[in-house]
């Protein structure tokens, strides 16, 4: 049953990735990433863990839900409202293409990651492959979206991938490191949001098209 729950969570993570790839509205994307954040935070609770660290795990899960499921989405929603961006206009790649890409990556990582020589370390190969798929999908979103909020969300997906991977194969980081990681993420998002506000001020829109004067 526990195994099934782990698989279910990974599956939902994959589906939420695909949802993020296919959705054009920033509001929907923020919802999607909040959902994913909460799911991730639940992951450690279902691990067959050493009972000594149960308190640590609970603290971590609560903190992670608060940051990934509540605070960051709240910030993003606020900045979205502030800059009045609703819709992603013409991403570099179409949504259907993105979704198909997401599917292929998910299947591919499931197929290949399972064959890596150190997979015996991971708690469930399914989680690990979901993590690698998320990593690639996160980078894909960053690369193919023009909207800055969408790029931030891509970055979050990417970060989440690290989180899943950390949980599924290396679960013995000390608590203060884990908290440091979360706080770093939070700080990173906060300054990205500040940057978005500034960018909105200067460019009057938040599509990265207008951020292309420095090329060469």
């Amino acid at each position: 049953m526990q195994n099934n729950l782990l698989i279910l969570i990974s599956l939902l993570i994959i589906l939420s990735n695909i949802f993020l790839l296919g959705s054009s509205r920033t509001g929907a994307m923020i919802r999607g990433i909040a959902f994913q954040g909460v799911l991730l935070s639940l992951l450690p609770l279902f691990l067959p863990s050493e009972s000594v660290r149960i308190l640590d795990i609970i603290i971590l899960a609560v903190l992670s839900i608060a940051i990934k499921g509540v605070i960051i989405p709240h910030y993003l929603r606020k900045v979205t409202r502030n800059i009045r961006t609703k819709k992603e206009l013409h991403p570099y790649l179409g949504y259907s293409v993105s979704v198909i890409f997401g599917l292929l990556v998910s299947y591919g990582s499931f197929y290949f990651i399972g064959k890596l020589p150190f997979m015996y370390l991971s708690i469930s190969p399914f989680n690990t492959s979901a993590a690698f798929a998320s990593m690639i999908i996160g980078m894909f979103i960053i690369a193919t979206r023009r909207n800055i909020i969408a790029q931030i969300i891509g970055y979050l997906v990417f970060e989440n991938a690290g989180f899943i991977l950390g949980i599924s194969i290396a679960s013995s980081q000390p608590l203060f490191i884990e908290i440091g990681i979360l706080l770093d993420l939070l700080a990173g998002i906060v300054i990205m949001v500040v940057a978005v506000n500034h960018i909105h001020l200067y460019f009057d829109n938040v599509n990265t098209d207008s951020l292309e004067r420095l090329n060469k």
Partner: protein, 492 residues
């Protein structure tokens, strides 16, 4: 050449002789200069003068300066050079002039009937796109829902609309013609039904015109009651529209609740004057019903309840992703197009154009109390709904303020029956659909020589057609509802 236009004071009548009568070339030059300088045509119509010569009158206003100008032009040989090619906003006015007086705008690109006064509504050359894969869809004049008659002709390629042409005239009642020679005893009632949902707006415009002609100053209390009634009308209609919009996209809760809340607001109007659509409330010289303390308290209480209900029912819309996904980017009209055809009202404000008669050309109580202009930016269905949502909140706030500071005094007095002869006056009111403009000219005996009404729908129907371009034909109903234009107000 310096004083080639007359600045109109809204609550005063002006001798018609003071409106400069220009030759065609001077007029043309002057008008184009004015429109280029930000002038917006409120009304453009033909009238006869004492010698039964045809004269074209143009009412044009500068929103930024809050000025309204009038000028006129002598017509020779029943024709003049069309201005449409220079500025799109003349297009429909010139068609109307041609239809009403036979004055031909030479070189008009699209000279067709507007209201079919002789019957045969809908029989005309529709714009057609040729091509094997283009198909035409004709909708109306009889629709599946209970709405007014109007004909829509779509040029489609698959589901995509290339062009929409609207054709009206099914409700042409000849109101303007019937007003000539007035005012009669039933004129004020006719005003109430120009567009049945804008009774207060049209009646107020008429009342202001009568007051200007008879030099009646009406008490502040009556003005406050008019403003309250106008804002109540705005609330009721906007709420109804928000409900209808959500009904069109199958979002039931908001639809059902807003339908009821609209009723609540109509009942507030009924509380004021006994009629849910405020018929007979606004009369020349004042208002037909006063607000006593009892009504005032009841109204405040009901308003509070209505506000609460509305906020909870309509805020659902902005929190439901599927609703936003449906509304967003549907029926976009760009700010440039909207500015070019000079749209008015919430539809224009949804494109980010700050145009509101209550602020730009205030009259009545709006002189004394300011109501913020609500705008949105995207110009899509979502923005139009959002502007309504904002406006309802502002209106409620405004009514609350007015109820709290209701001036003491009479609720009205008699206007004289002697209208100032040979005069012109203009009245601009921001109805819930947008600016409506009444212009009246009196003859030597103090009767109406010409009474010209421009309903906001007159400006905005073309906007709907433009909003549909490149859109999906299945988006038409929701797009149409987001404009919610009047058929009878257009057809007059």
């Amino acid at each position: 050449m310096k004083e080639s236009s007359l600045i109109i004071k809204y609550n005063k009548s002006n001798p018609t002789s003071k409106v400069p009568l220009l030759g065609e070339d001077v007029f043309r030059k002057k008008v184009l200069e004015m429109t280029r300088g930000g002038g917006r045509v409120n009304s453009f119509f033909s009238a006869e003068n004492d010698n039964e010569d045809l004269v074209l009158y143009l009412i044009i206003s500068y929103d930024a300066r809050g000025e309204t100008h009038a000028l006129s032009m002598k017509v020779e040989n029943k024709a003049f050079k069309s201005l449409t090619n220079e500025d799109t906003q003349f297009h429909l006015f010139e068609r109307e002039i041609y239809e009403q007086s036979g004055i031909r705008p030479l070189g008009h690109p699209w000279l067709k009937p507007v209201r079919f006064p002789g019957g045969n509504a809908g029989e005309m050359d529709f714009f057609k796109i040729e091509g094997r894969e283009i198909h035409e869809v004709a909708v109306g004049p009889i629709h599946a829902g209970i709405i007014e008659p109007g004909h829509f002709r779509f040029q489609c390629h698959g589901e995509t609309v290339y062009h929409l042409e609207t054709s009206h005239g099914y409700q042409h009642r000849g109101i303007e013609k019937k007003l000539t020679g007035g005012p009669y005893r039933d004129t004020v009632y006719k005003m109430g039904v120009i567009a049945g949902d804008s009774t207060v707006a049209h009646s107020t415009a008429y009342a202001q015109i009568m007051e200007a002609f008879t030099r009646t100053a009406i008490p502040a209390r009556a003005q406050a009651v008019r403003a309250i009634a106008l804002e109540l009308e705005r609330c009721a209609n906007h709420i109804g529209d928000i409900g209808a919009l959500s009904g069109d996209i199958g979002y039931l809760s908001t639809s059902a609740y807003c339908g009821r809340i609209r009723g609540d607001f109509l009942n507030m109007s009924a509380l004021l004057c006994g009629n849910r659509f405020s018929r007979g409330l606004v009369l020349p010289g004042g208002v037909g019903a006063d607000i006593d303390d009892d009504i005032r308290e009841q109204l405040a209480a009901r308003l509070e309840a209505g506000k609460k209900d509305f906020l909870s029912a309509a805020s659902l819309l902005w929190e439901t992703p599927s609703v936003l996904a449906r509304f967003d980017s549907t029926g976009i009209i760009s700010a440039e197009s909207a500015e070019r055809i000079k749209m008015v009202g919430p539809a224009a404000r949804a494109c980010g154009i700050e145009r509101d008669v209550r602020r730009d050309h205030p009259s009545g109580y709006y002189h004394l109390s300011y109501i913020p202009v609500s705008t949105s930016e995207m110009g899509d269905v979502s923005s139009r709904a959002y502007v309504r949502w904002l406006e309802v909140q502002e209106s409620i706030k405004f009514i609350e303020k007015l109820l709290a500071e209701l001036p003491v005094g009479d609720s009205g007095r008699e206007t004289g029956t002697n209208l100032k002869p040979d005069s012109i006056t203009v009245s601009l009111i921001e109805g819930w659909r947008g600016e409506l403009c009444h212009t009246a000219l009196t003859d030597g005996t103090g009767r109406f020589r010409r009474y010209k009404i421009v309903d906001p729908s007159f400006h905005n129907w073309l906007g709907l057609a433009l909003a549909m371009r490149g859109g999906q034909i299945s988006d038409f109903p929701v797009c149409n509802k987001s404009f919610n234009l009047s058929y009878c107000g257009f057809d007059l």
